[in-house]
């Protein structure tokens, strides 16, 4: 009889990318196959803490509650009170089997600080239900980035939920760079005074792909601040939608909610919708939202071409300039080349 051994092969694309990462966790089809974190101030378990979920993250969304009920992979990280982890933690999820239900949770205790970079990768077909839940206690601070790069034969829901106590803050940077049909939800609950949350998302769609980006910041305490930035490029015949919501509940005075949506429609028959929403039940707030979606500016193209740049080169420079927010996800030269290659392929 053979002992069960998890399949630890890593796709070459990822292998080339991660060899410089310190503090690396690799999870393949829900199994933890690499952990080089070696940080004793960081607690890692491969079990989702049930009570934690029940107390803090109840959702009426079936895809979330189903994930919370039963998942094929779980990972829990915890940073203890007052601990500041300066080195980033890198987590790579590799999907290979048919279905993946991944549940990742993070607790930052009072005053803790951490940087977490996640990468969700697949080169085979299947459905993926990915759920990330982070709870930030008072004065905790999190720098989060999440890249999604999934195969065109995948259907994925990527839900990221953040719950913030007083004076804590989170910066969420996400990038949708894959080819699969993707629904991405980011929800930030600001439950304590002076909590701050920002979502910056870059999404690319190509072929006949469908990408729905949903970002929501709920102001459930006074003097909270939320910022949503969406950047998108829709190529070929793809469809993309930005649904951004800033919700300020009654009594949550002096709160600030801002939202920007910027999109470039590259494909002849591509579509990009932006539906910015502000739901405000309080007078004393500072709020704004805006959307600018359109084709590449003809005058800008002409200007660059009048200096001898081919239309293709001119278009590339303009698109790359538009997608500058991606730079914050390029931690090193390898990551930079990798992201630029994906960008090139998606906006060609």
């Amino acid at each position: 009889m053979q002992l069960y051994k998890p399949d630890t092969r890593i796709p070459t694309v990822i292998e080339a990318l991660i060899d410089e990462f310190e503090n690396l966790i690799v999870i393949k089809d829900g199994e933890l196959i690499t952990n080089t974190t070696g940080e004793d101030r960081l607690i890692i378990t491969t079990k989702a803490p049930r009570a934690f979920l029940k107390d803090h993250f109840t959702s009426d969304k079936p895809v979330i509650s189903a994930n919370q009920e039963s998942h094929t992979g779980a990972l829990h990280l915890e940073v203890a009170e007052g601990i500041r982890l300066t080195a980033p933690i890198n987590i790579v999820y590799i999907h290979e089997k048919k279905d993946l239900v991944q549940n990742t949770t993070l607790t930052l205790k009072k005053g803790a600080f951490a940087t977490l970079n996640e990468y969700l990768y697949s080169e085979s077909e299947g459905t993926i239900n990915y759920l990330f839940q982070a709870r930030l206690e008072q004065a905790a601070s999190l720098e989060y980035s999440g890249i999604v790069n999934l195969d065109e034969d995948t259907l994925s829901t990527v839900n990221r939920l953040f719950k913030l106590d007083a004076t804590s803050n989170v910066s969420v940077k996400t990038a949708q760079l894959g080819n699969g049909k993707t629904y991405q939800d980011t929800d930030i609950d600001l439950v304590g005074v002076h909590a701050y949350g920002e979502v910056k998302t870059v999404a690319l769609s190509s072929g006949n792909q469908e990408v729905i980006i949903n970002s929501r910041i709920n102001h459930k305490a006074r003097q909270t601040e939320g910022l949503i930035d969406h950047y998108g490029v829709a190529n070929d015949e793809s469809f993309m939608a930005f649904e951004g919501t800033g919700k300020i509940e009654k009594g949550m005075a002096k709160s600030i909610a801002h939202q920007h949506n910027k999109g470039v429609i590259l494909g002849e028959t591509a579509r990009l919708d932006a539906n910015p929403l502000l739901l405000i039940d309080e007078f004393d707030v500072d709020a704004s939202h805006g959307a600018a979606i359109g084709k590449i500016d003809e005058e800008q193209l002409y200007y660059l071409m009048s200096r001898g740049l081919s239309e293709k080169d001119a278009q590339r420079l303009i698109i790359n300039g538009f997608l500058l927010p991606l730079e914050s996800l390029m931690q090193n030269e390898k990551m930079k080349d990798h992201i630029n290659a994906l960008l090139e392929a998606k906006t060609r």
Binding site: L304, E311, G321, L323
Partner: protein, 275 residues
């Protein structure tokens, strides 16, 4: 030595004819100036030479050393050696000046070759110094947040880097204060050589104090109506354009009507619309 030859050029925009038979020949080593009041088609001529997509050529030819450039796309014209310093240079956020110019220079090189980084940086820094621009210019985004004067100087900087055969400066003096005009003038004069053909487009004779012109043309009604030397320039400076109109029997020199005033929506709009 390059020659840009324009013959009987007619062009229109949105169905309206603006250029009505322009004839002009610019040869390397010579500086031409086109003067004339507003709305007579001067800038349209510049845009048509560069191949702006909004303009449609209905008759005539433009050749560069015998080659028909009307058959070329805008970028091909640029690579063939034509340069246009624009009246209102565009802002392109996210694209750095250095990336932009590097790409433009590489586009002029053979397939697979690219400019030496060392040489490029040295030339760029040199140009920045000569135009007295901010040292961080290479890393700033193309014209993004630039003042009017900075934008104009950046056009001249690009000209320095790209070394065209034929350069058209479309109202390079507008929006420039006297110090900036002096810098631009010195740089353009410095670039003059036996191969470079220059075409200056301006309202005012002031620019020609800083960049001397060999031949002066006056444009009215979408064509060149008068050509001369410095004596013509001086006469315009002293007497304006009315004497030319009188001499040629021109009543309205414009081809582009003055902007119609929009009716502002509000209480009076209905009244104005009814009238």
């Amino acid at each position: 030595m390059a020659t840009l030859k324009i013959e009987n050029l007619h062009a229109r925009v949105e169905g309206q004819e603006i250029l009505k038979g322009v004839n002009l020949e610019i040869e390397g080593g010579k500086t031409h100036a086109i003067m004339g009041p507003n709305g007579t088609g001067k800038s349209t001529l510049a845009s048509v030479i560069m191949g702006h997509p909004r303009f449609e050529v209905t008759a005539g030819t433009i050749t560069l050393d015998g080659e028909d450039i009307l058959e070329m796309s805008t970028d091909e014209r640029a690579r063939a050696g034509v340069f246009l310093a624009m009246q209102a240079p565009l802002e392109v956020p996210g694209v750095t000046n250095s990336d932009f110019i590097k790409t433009a220079i590489n586009a002029r090189m053979k397939e697979g070759e690219s400019v030496s980084l060392f040489k490029f940086i040295r030339e760029f820094d040199d140009a920045v110094g000569k135009l007295k621009m901010r040292e961080d210019l290479p890393h700033r985004y193309l014209n993004d947040g630039f003042s009017g004067g900075e934008k104009k100087r950046n056009e001249i900087l690009q000209m320095r880097m790209l070394k065209p055969k034929i350069a058209i400066l479309d109202e390079i003096d507008s929006g420039l204060d006297i110090d900036a005009l002096k810098i631009v003038g010195e740089n353009v004069t410095d670039m003059k050589n036996d191969d470079l053909g220059l075409l200056l487009i301006t309202h005012y004779q002031r620019l020609l104090d800083y960049i001397s012109a060999d031949i002066v043309h006056v444009m009215m009604q979408g064509r060149i109506v008068k050509t001369g030397g410095t004596e013509l320039m001086k006469k315009i400076d002293q007497h304006g354009y009315d004497w030319i109109k009188e001499e040629l029997g021109i009543e309205d020199e414009r081809v582009i009507p003055e902007e119609k005033e929009d009716i502002i929506l509000g209480t009076c709009a209905t009244k104005e619309a009814l009238e």
